[in-house]
């Protein structure tokens, strides 16, 4: 048994790649060792800005010697076959033995693969790991052809036992392995040798390097919190930033500073974003004033002046950054008070959204119309929804969002409030992009929901109209995310009404728009011969080419209204199906089975997503009970017998069974149970109370089971048989009212 220690020492590794790289090092090396026949007890990997390290404990000394028996050709087989067998086993004729087989005698080879020593295997695995390392981006340097994330300087690779350590010899393009490493770049730059992992970690710490990223992060967090606390302040949590900063330093030294008075009236989001994005500073809040008042920066070294110079420098850089931010803020506010948000957003007509779908201003026009249209569905004021849609994206033209795109929406809200817009409009500015991810909060304010839905529906219908749909892993316009956004908005707000009817108008509008536009191109191109000016001719020629690329199909469509209609219908159906697919993915993540969704999709009004999900949830709950599961069996049995009989007889047994013809108690009980269930199901379905309907249906389980036990369906008496088949039909009809149970597995 030995312990393996590996360190790959390089120039500064990007912080965002360090965690992935240490995981990859661990996986590639340990998998390689195991594949080569070694075993180990435990492995841990680490990363700092300049090194990747791996410690493997309890590594076996050798791979096992393997004895293998291999069957060869038959005795007396052609010479060539026997030669081939000898070649493949590396043996000679004398080494082979002969065994009896069912079909005669065959040659048997005993092949022994000698175990190999751990150092040989380690060297091989490590070299392969280095040469095939999965860096997101890698480079060459100097005259070499080796690739690494940044120049690789040294390889430490030792196997240590109680009696000492041995270097695993390795040479990767001139980088020779050893037992030495270096400390902190500035504080302890000297080289030193190490004997094992504990020695390595301890000496690194003396050399001002904390090896473990979690320890660095913990240290930063604790020190920073204490510094803030000592001044009655609190640190704003930011896990992503913490991990990144821990990846920028080997020896974290935490320093806290105050934000200059003149910047304190900037919105907290601006302060936070500016400090984080540009400077990697943490924000410090004054809990009493609820304001961001300070920052924490993390240096990579101790200094004789306790960081005073470093802090002063950082403070200066921050002041310059915040002056920029303040300049944008003041300018934006002046603009809003002069020309309102409508004026701020005027330039959006110059911003292309998509070359076939027009400018951002065109898009806003469409969204405003759509928001107005759907507002009543959501209980929103139509006037206000339209206004909110018109101004919600104005902040994209503000100086601040130009500088910090991630503040889109947030700034819109501030500017809307300063511009005297209603709070509902301001909130819509901020929240209409939501929900962005599957765990993002869903807005509930009606005006916001109207704008958010209209925004996403315009995007989806637009791209469907121009046939730019997501394929496989490609979804450059994030249409899946938009569809999920619609689904979550609809479900989260229990919006009623079919999605198809919501899609209809925007899709047709898009298609007609496109056709009109290409008709313009067409008109232009027909003028080409008349124009004498060479420059105009050039522009027109380009327009004609555009028209050929973009529009000919649409022009034809416009000429032929029928084609236009077909095109629209196709797009609507296709997009509705896309929604159903996304809904399935979403519900599957929520634990609803695929077949359950299919069973509900087969029901009428399936484009009413709220209704669909209500039904699916009720069915899903039913199937989790024993009654539900057994009912399903009973239903399937009834359905199978009925379907077979109907196919065989070529008739549909939907005549309605006659209770008087019931022979047994079980049969009579089933009649009664069906009457009872239907009496409950019909009103429940009318009020969309699926849970009650399903519960009533589950009550059929016992009578159906008893019926099948007591009664033979295919009775000799044809009248009885027909009546019983009609009874099965009633079971089927009753159950299918709720969901298409034929689609449920089980």
């Amino acid at each position: 048994m030995a312990d393996l220690l590996i360190e790959l020492f390089s120039e500064e590794i990007p912080a965002r790649m360090q965690a992935g790289a240490s995981d990859a090092l661990k996986k590639l090396v340990t998998d390689g060792l195991v594949d080569a026949g070694l075993t180990y007890a435990h492995a841990t990997a680490f990363a700092t800005p300049r090194r990747l390290a791996l410690a493997v404990q309890g590594l076996s000394d050798h791979s096992p010697t393997l004895c293998e028996e291999r069957r060869g050709p038959k005795v007396g087989a052609p010479e060539k076959a026997i030669e081939g067998f000898l070649r493949s086993t590396g043996l000679s004729m004398d080494d082979l033995s002969i065994q009896d087989d069912k079909k005669g005698q065959v040659y048997i080879a005993h092949v022994t693969t000698e175990g190999r020593a751990a150092p040989v295997i380690v060297a091989e695995v490590l070299e392969r790991t280095i040469r095939n390392f999965p860096w997101p981006k890698s480079m060459r340097w100097g005259t070499g052809s080796l690739r690494w994330v940044r120049p690789l300087h040294s390889i430490l690779c030792i196997l240590s036992q109680e009696d000492g350590a041995q270097v695993v010899p390795l040479d990767v393009d001139g980088i020779v392995s050893g037992d030495t490493t270096r400390g902190h770049r500035f504080m302890v730059p000297d080289t030193f040798s190490v004997a094992n992992f504990e020695d390595y970690a301890a000496k690194l710490k003396r050399a001002k390097v904390i090896l473990d990223p979690a320890e660095r992060a913990g240290h930063i967090w604790n020190e920073a919190s204490q510094l803030a606390f000592a001044q009655g302040l609190e640190l704003v949590e930011d896990k992503g930033l913490l991990a990144e900063v821990a990846g920028l330093v080997e020896w974290p030294v935490v320093l806290m500073g105050r934000i200059e008075e003149q910047f304190l009236d900037l919105p907290p989001e601006v302060l936070q974003t500016s400090m984080k994005e540009h400077q990697k500073f943490f924000s410090v809040r004054d809990p009493k004033a609820g304001q961001i008042v300070g920052f924490v920066t993390v240096a990579n070294r101790d200094t004789a002046d306790q960081g005073a110079t470093i802090l002063a420098g950082n403070q200066k850089v921050l002041a310059a950054r915040l002056s920029d931010a303040k300049f944008f803020w003041d300018n934006d506010l002046r603009l809003v008070s002069d020309v309102k948000l409508e004026g701020m957003g005027a330039g959006l007509s110059d911003v292309t959204f998509h070359n076939k779908l027009g400018s951002q201003a065109d898009r806003i026009e469409r969204i405003a119309a759509l928001a107005r249209e759907i507002a009543p569905l959501l209980g929103a004021d139509a006037e206000m929804a339209e206004q909110a849609a018109r101004v919600a994206k104005a902040d994209l033209r503000s100086g601040m969002v130009g500088e910090f795109p991630e503040l889109q929406g947030v700034m819109g809200r501030y500017y809307a409030l300063k511009g005297g817009y209603a709070p509902e409009v301001a909130d819509a500015c901020r929240d209409h992009y939501s929900p962005l991810g599957p765990s993002d909060d869903v807005p509930t304010a009606p005006v916001t929901v109207a704008v958010a839905l209209a925004d996403k529906l315009d995007t989806l219908t637009g791209f469907w109209a121009i046939d730019e749909k997501p394929t496989g892993s490609k979804d450059p316009f994030a249409l899946r995310r938009a569809a999920l956004g619609v689904i979550r908005l609809v479900l989260g707000n229990k919006v009623r009404g079919g999605i198809t009817s919501m899609l209809m108008k925007p899709i047709v509008n898009h298609i007609v728009d496109l056709a009109m536009k290409s008709n313009e191109y067409f008109a232009l191109s027909s003028q080409i011969p008349e124009s004498q000016d060479p420059q105009i001719r050039q522009i027109l020629l380009e327009a004609k080419m555009q028209a050929t690329k973009v529009g000919i199909e649409a022009i034809e469509a416009l000429r032929d209204e029928k084609t236009l209609q077909n095109k629209s219908e196709f797009a609507i159906n296709d997009l509705t199906n896309f929604f159903h697919d996304r809904l399935k993915v979403y519900l599957r993540d929520q634990g609803v089975r695929h077949d359950v969704i299919d069973a509900c999709l087969a029901m009428p009004n399936n484009d009413d997503l709220t209704l669909l999900v209500k039904r699916a949830e009720a069915l899903s709950d039913l199937l989790k009970t024993d009654d539900g599961e057994n009912l399903l069996q009973g239903f399937k049995r009834a359905n199978n017998i009925l379907t077979q009989a109907e196919e065989k007889d070529g008739v549909e047994y939907s005549f309605g069974p006659e209770p008087k013809l019931a022979e047994t108690d079980a049969e009579r009980a089933l009649f009664a149970a069906l009457d009872h269930a239907e009496a409950a199901i019909t009103p429940a379905m009318a009020s969309e109370d699926f849970a009650t309907a399903m519960h009533a249906m589950a009550g059929l389980r016992a009578p159906i089971d008893a019926f099948f036990d007591a009664v033979q369906i295919n009775a000799e008496n044809q009248i009885l048989r027909r009546n019983r088949l009609n009874l099965l039909h009633r079971i089927r009809a009753t159950c299918l009212q709720v969901a298409d149970l034929t689609k449920v597995n089980g």
């Binding site: 480079m139 340097w141 400077q279 101790d302 004789a304 110079t309 470093i310």
Partner: protein, 326 residues
Amino acid sequence: MQTQLYEIALTWQGADMAEAAENRSQKPQSFQEIILRLQNYWAAKGCAVLQPYDMEVGAGTFHPATTLRALGPRAWAAAYVQPSRRPTDGRYGENPNRLQHYYQYQVIIKPSPPDLQELYLGSLRAIGIDDALHDIRFVEDDWESPTLGAWGLGWEVWCDGMEVSQFTYFQQVGGHDCKPVSGELTYGLERLAMYVLGVDHVMDMPFNAPDAMIPLSYGDVFRQTEQEYSRWNFDQADTDTLLQHFKDAEAECQRIISADATDSAGRSIIMAHPAYDQCIKASHLFNLLDARGVISVTERQAYIGRVRALAKMCADAFVQTAAGSA
């Protein structure tokens, strides 16, 4: 880390104090002194100290001593100041650190030496940045020039949270793999000097020594030109003329490249550098047009693509010349 800090701090403090004292007396006094120190430092490290390229460029990288010399197998080491123009950054001399004309200091060494980071840190010490007192960091920043068809990996170097240099290992230029790889260092001189000299507004920075017979500030030298060029760049430059110049430069570049390699006297001379001059011209004209706001978002990509095509042609030509091949 507080635990072991105390003991080590004591021993270090002595050394730090001595060094700091030495550095104080050595602190540069002016913008030009910083440039001179960089020149001396890199000359002492063996770089050929070149002079600025005599054309308008957006960055030191455009100098053929970098762009073209990064291609091909021959070793190369050069350092130079390059006046750089970015018309859209003009602020009429009012912004504390934005200028439409500024200086870059550029170092290019091929193949990149294994101790390039140490060499670089030595240059910071040479201009008075004491790394025992300051926090110097290499923060990921990959460099890409779409107009040159070039990219590399490296860092921006931070000093106390401020970006003071760009450090790049060139991987590709003009669509060609760089073999061997060049190491490129770019210092934004005004920003760096402002930090070293403790100046808040670039125009207040001493250009020559404050105790010179005629002390001049950066503003004395450049405030008026910043105003003049800002007006011209944003309002006055004639866009029709610029567009025509762009087309001319593009056509001339293509013509030079496609000319027969053999001249009338039978000499074989590929004119990679004259062609590249036209490429530089086209690139700067594009920047001017951009500042005039006459290039739309969609056209932008097309223009960048046209300049890149020229850069690629020049690179293709250069690797067939003596300086660009084995």
